[in-house]
Symmetry: C2
Subunit: 152 residues, 2 copies
């Protein structure tokens, strides 16, 4: 967006590309944070570079935003690929007896594993819901807004 009247070129390459990537990423995060603070709102940005690196910013934190997002009705129209043996997986999860372990006795790593497994089950359920929703003609746009209250 700058210093070259024209810059129709898709990209230069290598190091320059990475420098620009970093600058723009920082700019995006900065804007998100300013947006959140200026309006007393919550905002999170997460990005994966082409190489697979993860970057994120959250105000107040990415995880708190995601927890809140996942609790919203709109999160049930997940866009993921269809999954079939949902009931099978859930049955396995219950029968394995993991969930009645006393969570209070688990360490950090173990809790992480449990959370990951529970998340897996939830994703299966959500995917099945998305499947049904898709069959009913609904679709999930890249952009959305969902009412939670009355204003803003």
């Amino acid at each position: 967006m700058v210093r070259r009247r024209i810059e129709i070129k898709p990209i230069e390459d290598k190091a320059k590309r990475h420098t620009t990537f970093t600058k723009r990423r920082q700019g995006l995060m900065k804007k998100a944070k300013a947006f959140a603070t200026d309006f007393e709102a919550e905002a999170a940005v997460i990005t994966f570079s082409k190489a697979g690196n993860l970057f994120g910013l959250g105000h107040p934190s990415v995880d708190s935003l995601l927890d809140r997002y996942l609790a919203e009705p709109s999160s049930q129209l997940a866009t993921e690929t269809a999954i079939n043996g949902a009931e099978k997986r859930i049955g396995e999860g219950v029968e394995s007896g993991r969930w009645d372990l006393a969570v209070g006795d688990l360490g950090l790593e173990e809790l992480g594993e449990v959370a990951a497994e529970v998340e897996k089950i939830k994703r299966t359920v959500v995917a099945r819901a998305a499947e049904i929703a898709a069959a009913e003609g609904k679709n999930s746009p890249g952009e959305f807004s969902g009412a939670g209250s009355t204003i803003e």
Copy 2:
């Protein structure tokens, strides 16, 4: 940021505030999308207004980004509030026998309820993990970057 040399005032009010909120939100989303396309990356933005309204943008979709994020190790350092009776809730969830219902037989609304309950359990586990992590002196920054590969 404009037309007033100074605008130290926190905010004007009412309709103007909402207009500005909308413009800036759109600007943020636009930037995120441009960022993702320019660098062949994936990016998602989610925001909750003060009133609790949800807005989001994802490229290729918010949900696909979140799924990918949740599979990352860093997602296990959630920042949520501490929760106590984790093991109790999990025990109840299992004993209620809901999870071995055949998911394939459930309708959209029922699936939503199941997903919500599973999510609740996951949040409990994650919160307990956050509690332990906090006790160990770790903290969860608003911003982060996690390696997934070698470049970018």
